[in-house]
């Protein structure tokens, strides 16, 4: 658990002992996330660990004589062979390694690549500690068209011990706010608020804290958050959000002009399918804090 308070000087407040883990699978989204990871690592003075997992289920499936691949875009059918698949995986791993080296070298960030075979989510969970930040694309290669949250991301945002950043390319409209979503009972000095404040500082973007609460009774929370932010020297907009569904949260985000979202996985709407729906609706980088 990160305990360092946010300072007015704007120095990185999250302890640099944690690594930045970047999940690489050779897909376009993972390469985009790589750049983001490098920026974060640079800002946090952290080292980057690239993780490339050869999905064991996939390798197994290629072992069947009848195994075929249906083209993701064309729909064409062609046989799937173990050798070919392995060669392709190796090529992807090599590509990931080169991309990692290139991106990190440019910024002078220390990096390492971990190659492993197994199930992606399990392998990653086995690698990370509570101080580590996992950066990943929302979906891997060849996911179902239009799908905005892959299965690995689904597992990690719920189970990772540290923070998870689901990277996506910035929204096209001129949005520039860092928005933090908070429950009224999560307290003012919450990790999500601190991470949000840091992001706002780093990107020189205004900050909004949206507190999901019943309108009047939780006015105190708003005051607390304001007091906390003021004490920390952060100017931010604090708003109460009615206890409504995902749709109203999404609308509020749009109204705020959110460019990045920080949310705790304990956020009340995050239970069950809520997280999936919320993340599917919001096409922007989301940091899910522990």
């Amino acid at each position: 658990m990160v305990t360092t308070p946010i300072t007015a000087e704007g120095l990185p407040s999250v302890k640099s002992s944690g690594r930045v883990l970047i999940l690489l699978d050779g897909s376009r989204t993972s390469l985009a996330a790589l750049e983001a990871a490098a920026e974060i690592a640079l800002a946090r003075n952290a080292e980057v660990l690239g993780v490339f997992v050869e999905e064991v289920n996939l390798l197994r499936s290629a072992g069947y004589g009848f195994a075929s691949e249906v083209g993701g875009s064309s729909g064409l059918l062609r046989p799937l062979e173990v050798e070919v698949l392995e060669a392709r995986m190796r090529a992807l791993a090599e590509q990931a390694r080169r991309a990692l080296e290139q991106v990190m070298l440019r910024r002078g960030v220390a990096q390492a690549l971990r190659l492993c075979r197994g199930r992606v989510a399990e392998e990653v969970l086995g690698l990370i500690g509570p101080d580590d930040l996992v950066v990943m694309g929302r979906v891997g290669w060849s996911a179902i068209p239009g799908c905005r949250l892959g299965s690995t991301a689904g597992v990690l945002i719920h189970q990772a011990p540290g923070d998870v950043l689901l990277w996506s390319t910035s929204p096209p409209l001129a949005r520039n706010r860092v928005v933090v979503l908070l429950n009224h009972d999560q307290g003012a000095n919450h990790r999500a608020v601190r991470v949000g404040a840091e992001l706002a500082r780093r990107h020189q973007q205004p900050l909004t804290v949206l507190i999901r609460a019943e309108a009047l009774e939780d006015q105190q929370v708003v005051e607390d958050v304001r007091a906390y932010l003021k004490a920390e020297g952060i100017s931010a907009r604090v708003r109460l959000l009615a206890m409504t569904g995902v749709a109203s949260v999404v609308r509020a985000m749009a109204e705020e002009g959110a460019a990045q979202l920080v949310v705790s996985r304990k956020f009340s709407l995050f239970g069950g399918q809520g997280a999936d729906i919320l993340l599917t609706e919001l096409n922007l980088p989301v940091t899910v804090t522990a």
């Binding site: 050779g26 289920n57 009848f66 075929s68 239009g146």
Partner: protein, 803 residues
């Protein structure tokens, strides 16, 4: 024959009576709107300017410097003021064929409004359409559409995924797509283990996998169709939104411009175009592309908002581009590009509905300009084409703006030669320029014209910004105008010379510190002009003074006479005497024109000599043979002789040579003569007489010298004051001649003598001596002939013997 009476001073100089000029200075005179004495030309102008039928364009012909341009401009300005102001013309983008910009005509002054309306509309589009696209409503609807598509895409795949899972089959993603494999507890079964499955189980699994693959294939292949459908629906949505956004502004404009159907049609086309390109307006970073918005701009080609009456345009550089307009190009990063906003109007566009004044010589010297003008006048429409395209040198794609109908009256200004050359050589010319407006060179000088001419001078003085003239100065200028016209009954209409003279006189008046131009300043201006141009004349006089060029101004001499000639160099003319000599001896009736033999004589001179010789033969040997071999020469003339003005002098000198009677060298002679001995008018009499006067003056003073000139030339005399004074004092005499006999009597002092009924001249008369002498020549000639015949006969005999 009665001797002619010497001319008096009044006969050789037509004074301007001061009482005809009823003013003190020209300040008191009103401007003359139109020139007087140019009725023919003004009527032609009036007719040509009013005539509507095609081809009735004007050619105003007259000498250069006659003030044609100013007069035509002034006339047309007045004429055009009462006519309707022509329409404005605009070019707008053609949405069907982008390389053929459309032309729209609007009432005068509306062009600007239309341009500004379209500019406002473009600005509005720039903001209103992106605003529409950013609106919550639009975003929500777009999102709905996209979500629907995603849902429909995912639905198919999820169904397959679910079906697979229900059948214990995993649907896995590969780097390039999907694959299926049997699974247990969320994990794919090892292929080795699978081998242990029973055949039925395997068959079931594989059949299911195959089935799923097919379904997946179908689902994936549906995706492009789905996407297309969504694109179409988004486009429809865009159109709908843009239609709604544009409805207001375009509706207002449509109503405003409902009286111009072309504008309404254009506005509809704009709306269609905006809808079609709606997506291009969505770019939030840069707004709509400038190129797109430019298409809705208006190129106001002809703006008649400020025009009063019909336009009168003078094109001072009438080349092809300036006449027909041109399509300009802009250089951008090394490329040249153009669009309809770079179409520039030509003077024909600007003059459309009015008058275009052009200088004929200038347009003829510009490549293709004349051909283009004719083509446009024939077709009655202006088509903008570049010169390089006309020549076929450029094949690059360029704009072809819609031709604009033309209704213009072209007024060409040029000299007469040009007019007659064009009439002769250009078959189109007279079809297109049917009205000739011929400028008078000279104006009538009568009692009515004095004041009008004075007003003309006053107008000229005002327009040239010079001082006013007093009455005497005006009178002197009028007299000088007669001299310039070389006619006592005429005044020059040559605008430029008078203007220049006024300006010079103004300068001398300035120098003299006078507020008015007085007679002395006019005289000074005339004298200074003459002095500046006198170098060659003085060199010629010097040659005579030093005896290099032999001219006698006193005494008598046989076979020698002073002829008078005029030399013209540039704009200056001056006269000088020329010695003409003759010889005569018996011969075969031939008069040798040495000038012609030496190829120094022109055809008119030759003709005059031939007339002379036939006159001699007819008069002195009407029934017999003219036995004469005579020669005529202009002594010390090396530059060629032309004209017949020396015929009288040549006749006198030839007769002197035949008779041996000397001729007075104190008299100079000019005049042409016909076969009956009648003296006919010649040109340049003023210069000729003044030239001889000057020679006499430098040879020891004028006393008793004089000049003989045709009586019909007397009214052309406007001699300078010095000559007039000498004539008044009797020191210089000028005789008007009607017949050659008068010249003979004046030159020889003998009676010429008239033939009696038998054709015999009286005894002791000059003509009798000529006849007798020719008779003697004839006798000698006959004698010689008979001697020669005898001699030839002997020789022939000898020849015969030899043969």
């Amino acid at each position: 024959m009665a001797l002619p009476v010497a001319l008096t001073e009044d006969q050789i100089y037509h004074r301007c009576p001061l009482d005809m000029l009823d003013f003190e200075t020209t300040e008191a005179l009103e401007n003359l709107e139109l020139p007087f004495g140019q009725d023919r030309m003004l009527r032609a102008l009036e007719f040509g300017a009013s005539m509507q039928a095609s081809g009735f364009n004007l050619f105003v012909l007259g000498p250069s410097g006659a003030g044609k341009h100013e007069l035509v401009k002034r006339f047309l300005d007045t004429h055009a003021a009462g006519k309707a102001v022509p329409s404005d013309w605009c070019h707008v983008f053609n949405f069907q064929q982008s390389d053929k910009p459309e032309a729209i005509t609007l009432r005068p002054g509306e062009g600007r409004v239309f341009k500004s309306d379209m500019s406002d509309l473009a600005s509005e589009l720039k903001t209103a359409i992106p605003a529409t696209f950013e609106s919550e409503e639009y975003q929500a609807r777009i999102q709905e559409l996209q979500e629907e598509m995603t849902r429909r895409q995912q639905k198919g795949l999820f169904v397959i995924q679910e079906e697979a899972r229900a059948n214990n089959i995993a649907m896995l993603t590969t780097p390039g797509g999907f694959t299926f494999a049997p699974m247990r507890n969320g994990e794919v079964i090892e292929p080795e283990e699978y081998k242990t499955f029973s055949a039925e189980e395997k068959e079931l699994v594989e059949a299911k996998v195959e089935d799923l693959q097919k379904k997946l294939q179908q689902a994936i292949q549906q995706v492009p169709r789905l996407r297309k459908e969504v694109r179409e629906r988004i486009h429809e949505l865009n159109e709908e939104m843009v239609q709604l956004t544009l409805g207001g502004p375009i509706g207002e404009l449509r109503e405003k411009w409902s009286h111009v159907p072309a504008v309404v049609a254009y506005l509809d086309a704009v709306r269609e175009d905006v809808v079609e390109h709606a997506e291009a307006f969505q770019d939030n970073e840069n707004g709509a592309p400038a190129g797109l918005l430019n298409r809705y701009r208006v190129n106001l080609l002809v703006d008649n908002a400020e025009t009063r009456g019909a336009p009168v345009i003078y094109e001072d550089l009438p080349n092809h581009q300036h006449l027909t307009g041109q399509i300009e190009h802009r250089a951008h990063q090394g490329n040249l590009y153009t669009d309809f906003t770079l179409i520039r109007a030509g003077s024909l566009h600007r003059a459309n509905g009015g008058y275009l004044i052009l200088d004929a010589r200038r347009i003829l010297t510009q490549p293709m300009a004349w051909e283009s003008l004719k083509r446009i006048l024939f077709s009655n429409e202006i088509r903008i084409e570049s010169l390089e395209r006309l020549y076929g040198l450029a094949t690059t794609v360029s704009l072809q703006p819609e031709p604009i109908p033309l209704n213009v009256k072209v007024v060409l200004l040029g000299d007469r030669t040009l007019y007659y050359l064009l009439s002769h050589y250009d078959p189109d010319f007279l079809d297109l320029f049917k009205v000739e407006a011929d400028f008078e060179d000279d104006l009538e000088r009568d009692d009515d014209s004095y004041l009008l001419y004075a007003r003309m001078i006053a107008t000229m003085a005002r327009s040239a910004g010079v001082k006013a003239l007093d009455r005497a100065a005006v009178a002197r200028l009028i007299e000088h105008a007669s001299r310039l016209a070389s006619d006592q009954q005429k005044l020059t209409a040559h605008d430029r010379v008078l203007k220049d003279l006024l300006s010079e006189a103004d300068h001398w008046a300035d120098q003299a510190g006078s507020d008015l131009i007085e007679v002395g300043h006019i005289q000074q201006a005339i004298d200074e002009r003459e002095y500046r141009a006198s170098r060659i004349r003085e060199r010629s006089m010097e040659q005579i003074r030093r005896g290099v060029m032999m001219i006698a101004t006193e005494g008598e001499q046989t076979g020698q006479v002073n002829g008078l000639s005029v030399l013209q160099i540039g704009a200056t003319r001056f006269g000088q005497p020329t010695r003409i000599t003759a010889t005569a001896r018996p011969g075969k009736g031939q008069v040798v024109d040495i000038e012609r033999e030496a190829k120094l004589g022109g055809p008119i001179h030759s003709k005059a000599v031939m007339i002379l010789s036939r006159f001699l033969a007819n008069r002195y040997a009407p029934m017999g043979e003219l036995s004469l071999s005579a020669s005529l020469a202009f002594e010390q003339s090396y530059g060629g002789v032309e004209g017949d003005s020396a015929s009288v002098a040549e006749t006198c000198v030839l007769l002197s040579a035949i008779t041996g009677v000397p001729l007075k060298q104190s008299l100079a002679v000019t005049g042409s003569m016909n076969q009956h001995g009648e003296v006919q008018a010649v040109g340049g009499v003023n210069e000729k007489i003044e030239g001889f006067f000057d020679v006499c003056k430098q040879a020891g003073g004028v006393s008793g010298q004089g000049a003989l000139l045709p009586a019909s030339n007397v009214e052309h005399l406007m001699l300078r004051k010095e000559v007039c004074d000498a004539v008044s004092d009797g020191r210089f005499v000028i005789y008007p001649l009607t017949h050659i006999d008068q010249a003979i009597e004046l030159m020889t002092g003998m009676e010429a003598g008239k033939p009696d009924a038998d054709g015999q001249f009286p005894e002791n008369s000059f003509n009798r001596r000529v006849a007798d002498r020719l008779e003697e020549f004839a006798k000698i000639g006959r004698k010689k002939e008979s001697e020669q015949e005898n001699a030839n006969g002997g020789r022939y005999g000898d020849n015969a013997d030899n043969s």
